[in-house]
Symmetry: C2
């Protein structure tokens, strides 16, 4: 294959990559090279860890998810956030042996906390890696983040994870820097996750590099509210709506699931990779207006591409309830490739 353009099912795949075989490795090397003072790639595997020396009394924070969600997970490695990022293949959970490598590399006397987005493969692989780590005497705990309100209730797997996990990384990472013990960091991560809700919308699929297939199919005028970050089914497929109507539908879903009345929240408006930042600003204009009408106070707003699905068109809205302690952790210093405070 000369270049990366191939025609499949009438879709042209135009990607600036060197081929699907080396993709995950190329991504990690490119990210590690961009911030050699912050990140280090483990030899012979695509795990990224903090460049700074380990503090033996600090809980280490580890997050892993499939590749294709860049800048997650590696873009959040650094002071005040992650100690290790373990990416899998495109849209696939990292394998237990890779997760274990990450855990062993960053383990300290204080232990390791793993953050997991709630997908079956991720939960299973992390559980297996944690069992193996425990057999080697490492103290390891986990928190599952399941912020997607659009997942159908009653299913045994529960709600999926969306971009909200980035906020949990910020909170747990800041708590860990304070020297809090493993159970303390776990409790604050669970507390943050308990007040966290997200919902996504998609209007264009991404193309899976290995086979050139779109991640889902939508009609030429259609969008889907509640779609997951790998193209999992949402709750409503409809004709394209304008920004206001789309955001209203999404916020209604969130507020049906969680009562934020009289709360302060952090808002995260996350682009999926193919939607311009311009549109995220337009969405934010209505989000602020709508939440004000509901008596919900916005503490801060993050807008950008924080957890993507390659070139998928769409975005997600996340709300995280914050109390004085969570605000302090949210505002605390962080030095990572993507988030700095």
């Amino acid at each position: 294959m000369k270049g990366m353009a191939r025609k499949q099912r009438g879709e042209t795949v135009k990607k600036f990559i060197n081929g699907p075989e080396t993709l995950e490795a190329d991504i990690i090397r490119g990210l590690a090279l961009s911030k050699p003072g912050l990140l280090r790639q483990l030899p012979d595997c695509n795990v990224l860890v903090r460049q700074t020396l380990k503090r033996r009394d600090k809980v280490s924070l580890l997050f892993g998810c499939g590749s294709g969600h860049e800048p997650a997970p590696g873009g959040y490695v650094g002071y005040g956030m992650l100690d290790a990022a373990v990416p899998g293949k495109i849209f696939s959970s990292p394998t237990p042996d890779k997760i274990l490598k990450g855990i062993k590399e960053v383990q300290t006397e204080a232990g390791v906390l793993c953050l997991i987005v709630n997908y079956t493969g991720d939960v299973l692989n992390f559980r297996m890696a944690m069992e193996m780590a425990k057999m080697e005497g490492i103290a390891v705990e986990s928190v599952i983040v399941a912020d997607d309100v659009a997942t159908q209730k009653g299913k045994s797997v529960g709600q999926r994870g969306l971009a909200g996990v980035v906020l949990v990384m910020k909170i747990a990472g800041a708590e860990a820097e304070m020297g809090t013990d493993l159970y303390g960091v776990k409790e604050v991560a669970k507390w943050a996750a308990s007040g966290l809700r997200s919902v996504g919308v998609a209007c264009r699929p991404c193309i899976i590099p290995s086979d050139g297939e779109p991640s889902f199919e939508l009609g030429e005028m259609e969008m889907e509210i509640g779609m997951g970050i790998h193209g999992e089914p949402g709750v409503m497929r409809c004709d394209m709506m304008n920004a206001r109507d789309t955001a209203r539908q999404m916020l209604e879903l969130i507020l049906l699931d969680c009562n934020y009345e009289n709360s302060e929240v952090v808002v995260l408006i996350n682009g999926l990779g193919g939607t311009p930042i311009m549109e995220l600003y337009v969405i934010n204009e209505f989000v602020h207006q709508y939440l004000a009408e509901q008596g919900i106070v916005i503490y801060d707003t993050m807008i950008g591409n924080y957890m993507t699905s390659m070139e998928m068109g769409g975005f997600s809205i996340s709300l995280m309830r914050v109390d004085p302690h969570l605000k302090a952790l949210y505002d605390a210093a962080a030095v990572t490739p993507v988030i700095r405070r």
Copy 2:
């Protein structure tokens, strides 16, 4: 029109906006609402200025460009960068009266420096606004940034501006915070711009919201090296190449135009809005390898969507030569919606 999906020339326009009529205002309001502690929108116009009080002895820095390039210009307003951002209509220079409003709002005893990307409309409108400001007794100077090496030489308009202007904002903004006078800030901005070169590549057009037309047309397998951020013609249209070959072609163009031998540089890999961050990391892997082979030392690398063209597919590479003084300014504190140090 019910939603924002319209079919034109076989292209489906799917945008999360509220309509082309209010688009520029919606963008600015959405951005201003996201960081009320940093930004303030001037009443009755879409100009953004710093929320913090003016220091009478500090040169104010102003930048303006068309809308559609978000997060530019508004995302760079704040401590250590811009005092005012003046966006125009989509892909159109801001009008002289708007630029003048911005200049008058942020003027201080130390004067105002305007950064201009080298497009005919921008240069003319800024000149007119500056003339009017001078007639009102305001000390105002400008620096034109023309970093695009792909523009055909010999044309009277000179080289176009690309994403490199973001680096000049960082440098000039930091110098201004030091209390340097207007001519000193202008000199350092010119010095930074003199060692700055960029080149872009595009593989998918963006759709102009007002008429639903694509900004340019490319074949299903084609890409174009050297294309400008509004779809201006580049220097080479060819079949899609892989990441390595694309980056090599681009870097060769830059190094033909400017000798970086034995230099240290800041690298900026800028996504145009529709290209996933994943691909920018893959590109960066080769950029580092190639520059190392050329004996060019990389001081720091920025990767992300800093100056976009809505959902255009493609990216640009910029190199800025840095000496000890420019490194200090590059690293100096900044608090803006997009760049924090």
